[in-house]
Subunit: 612 residues, 2 copies
Amino acid sequence: MSTLSKSDTPIYVIEWQPIGLKSTGIQQQTILAAAQSAGIRFVAFCGGNGTCGSCKIRIIKGELSPITETERARLSDEDFAHGMRLACQIHPLSDLKIEIPPSTLSTEQRLQLEGEGFLSIFSQKTCPIQSVHLQIKEPSILDSCADTVRIKKALLITGINISCIHPRLLHSISDVLRELHWDIQLILRNQEVIAVLPKNAIPLGLAVDIGTTKIAAYLIDLKTGFIVLKKGEMNPQISYGEDIISRIAYTNINPEGREALQKNLIHTINKLIRDLCKGIHVVPNQIVETVFVGNTAIHHFFCNLPVGQLGRYPFVAAVSEALNFSASDFGLKISPAAGVYLPPNIAGYVGADHIAMLIGTNSDQCNRTRIAIDIGTNTEISLIHQGKIFSCSCASGPAFEGAHISCGMRAADGAIERVQISDGVFQIKTISDQPPIGFCGSGILDMVAALRKSGIINARGNFNKEDPRVQKAERNYEFVVVSKEKSTTGKAITVTRADINEIILAKSAIRTGIEILLETTGITSDQIEEFIVAGAFGTFLNVNSAVIVGMFPDINPEKFQQVGNAAGTGACAMLRSTEIRKRCEELSQRITYVELSTYPNFNDTLISWMHL
Amino acid sequence: MSTLSKSDTPIYVIEWQPIGLKSTGIQQQTILAAAQSAGIRFVAFCGGNGTCGSCKIRIIKGELSPITETERARLSDEDFAHGMRLACQIHPLSDLKIEIPPSTLSTEQRLQLEGEGFLSIFSQKTCPIQSVHLQIKEPSILDSCADTVRIKKALLITGINISCIHPRLLHSISDVLRELHWDIQLILRNQEVIAVLPKNAIPLGLAVDIGTTKIAAYLIDLKTGFIVLKKGEMNPQISYGEDIISRIAYTNINPEGREALQKNLIHTINKLIRDLCKGIHVVPNQIVETVFVGNTAIHHFFCNLPVGQLGRYPFVAAVSEALNFSASDFGLKISPAAGVYLPPNIAGYVGADHIAMLIGTNSDQCNRTRIAIDIGTNTEISLIHQGKIFSCSCASGPAFEGAHISCGMRAADGAIERVQISDGVFQIKTISDQPPIGFCGSGILDMVAALRKSGIINARGNFNKEDPRVQKAERNYEFVVVSKEKSTTGKAITVTRADINEIILAKSAIRTGIEILLETTGITSDQIEEFIVAGAFGTFLNVNSAVIVGMFPDINPEKFQQVGNAAGTGACAMLRSTEIRKRCEELSQRITYVELSTYPNFNDTLISWMHL
């Protein structure tokens, strides 16, 4: 059924599936525009220019304008065979019935972030980034004011008074204005113009959680707050030292070391940025705001700040306040005046990533007694009790990243991630159910717990040599999980005495931190009401195993919450909210840092937890 | 005569010559400290560490502590033979009579700046730079806050509340604090810490006037405002094009051209900085504030701003507002967070250097009818009348820099700088009275005026072939100033018809600018009350010659004032005064820019002034 408007322009009815919504469209309008007027949010990263190919739809019924060159470039033969078209390229020629695939529908977009439950509760009212569309009159000899003045005048007409154009934007501004024929989208931050984009391009944000071992990067649609893509990489600084202390030592010895460490990190982050932007077919220039979190040393390496004093007694950070930079200060290949926000550090070994984790779990607003722990090569723990927050840092080492374990590996396909013992039989589960290759962090933790539970190792970690699966190894004994004969790699998968020692060292470091925080506040583990475990390993570990080996206290299992990369969640939340940044800064002032190494009972406590 | 104090410490009387002042000193005190307590200002750039050697004095009478290693390193045998010592290294052992050489006495320091008369009238109450001495408590494990927090806390105790430490300072701050044993001088700008210096080091400022052809750099003692050293260099961008238009064309053709032009300029400025600092034995890190002025294109090249649109109709600047950067944004090898202030531009071809010149001559506060002109490859002219300011720009070309003149040269030794005719005889004067090599700008102007006055050339610039000194040249005729036989270079020094044409083109461009400004305001040249001529060439030119050739109007000679590099004076003044910066910004808003090329009578006026 078509109706005619007064001007004889036919108005067509469009039925959208699977939403079940009906709306109208005219021939002059693209299907993308029709969807937008109907309030349906499409993924259209390029702003409808046909360059990203993300607004794919399937035509169930009805006539459309012919296939364009752009569609031929973006869609495959298979797409066309299935009736797929690009919404930004086509116009209705009759009533239509259209199916929107989930990948095209912005609101259906699967959030790739674990711990997303926490994200949704944040208010997004105070986004530091604003966007304004401007159509500016071109200069002439009688109206030849400078380009920056012309922008300011045009903004003033729309009622916006800006203080300045960001200096880093000036290098390109005149050319961009002319390329876009003065029809532009201005991106503003704090009364300052920080980017000039094509009018329909979506401003993007980038949140990066830089771990000692791994980097996680999140690309955010700043208008909706959705995480549009996420990607991880290894921290390339590993080649300068596995842990922070070795990297600091490297910079102490090599005069150019600090610069090299920074350059390396930026290089990898730029690669992540390229990959993320390629993944959604946008130019990195659309990234106009960023947040970076990491521990204090990583934070200092990222900013090329002095670390010598951080590596020696009394372990002093150069900077603990929140910092604001521009992308070009770091050589980040995004919009040059894009903001770089670094939340505050707490102490030399409790950094901004812990702030981000506490914010990502709303721990700063928590009224209950809560432990919040982020397990990594360096493990940070906070105890929230009666509105006070005590934090400490433990050198847990990289065992749970699979390092320093004889058959250890990263959490990739074929890694043993779960071990259960039932009726004396070990059952293993590997990632993607591939033939086992080695242990990732959660697998080795389970394994040690199962060995202990079954009595194959004793409280000191020594093997029961009577067990048939325990065999003599080069230096000591080992437990054979998969025999050489049965292993597809041709190598047996075993657990050695040294592996067990690594786990004992790691878990006792963590438990000592927990116990000293409890002692500092004068409470016992029974009083813990919530026990939040964050971080990639923290999400996958079996809490029961952690309790068996004595890493976590033996409390009601329902008190444990495994929340994924809450530091990443926190960093994403900071991207779009000055209010949350303020919370970070207030939080950093409120926290009482507990230095474990000078705590009177530290050594005794550590030794007392060195049993299974 | 020695007196004994109560504690038996002998107090010696020191007589200072040639001042004639008497004061006292004790053995525990250096002579430098004694001078300082007596209110005598010594040059002591290093702050009294013995590294600069600038506090040389001569001992006329009396006993002193023995010669130190430092003195041996800094003073020559001749110095010692003349009784020279370093005031910062020696202690009195008896009453003394001391002679202070002029070079050691700060208040006697010769100001190297022409036009200094204008400088002295500026108020220095609003210096953007403050200096604070702090002795900070070292960190300990119980007081291990970050270094930046420690500084803020120490400042707060002295009653100073700062907003932050400049991000560019963070890269070195921890190391510097420890090197100086926490006994430091903090340099503050706008509630921000921008440098950490040794406690006695003098904070320095750098003002640079970047001309199309030449660069002039001034090093300023920010505490007193004295210019301590000045140095000039050629603008290295000349190798990319003699004038602005060719340089813009170069960047249009070469994608990396803009960056190359900037890099080149910064390289030369860094060389100037090194030379200036070496000249007074200080480290470039003591430079904590800078001002750069230049015409609009040079300003854009310096900042690596887009210039394509500046080179084509309607000649639009990217930026006209005042800009603030940090030294490290440019790779300037001074204190990395040192401020870089660029005053506003007026239009595409009237730049910040003209603003600086107007400020350097107080033209913004002038109540009389004044012409203020800065002659260079590009000449800018302002007419101040009844509180209004009209400005224009003329393409006068490089003839007055000695370029495009057959026997032209820079104003160096042997250049003919003055020509007089008396009783038909030409009298020439060269720079440093060396044998003549060629003409600098003022020489060729004088020469053309003398030729015209003596009737050897007519109003159109054609030679009177009857004159014995006029001879046939390759293309036309030429006037022989020094014959081949008499010339020490073995080459005759002549003035060709083409040379005369170059001068006619230059002078008519300038006169046209003056006339159109007069026409715009509706006044005649008789009404001009003051005619200020700035710039190096403007200082040395013979005003009478400029009137004879018709470059300047024929007004009462007493109305002319030749003020030297007033743009440099203005830039120096901006270094130490936010009030003067405000005046610059207000001035840029007040000026009415007159575009000559579209002025109705432009061509007619230009042609009408093309006679001598």
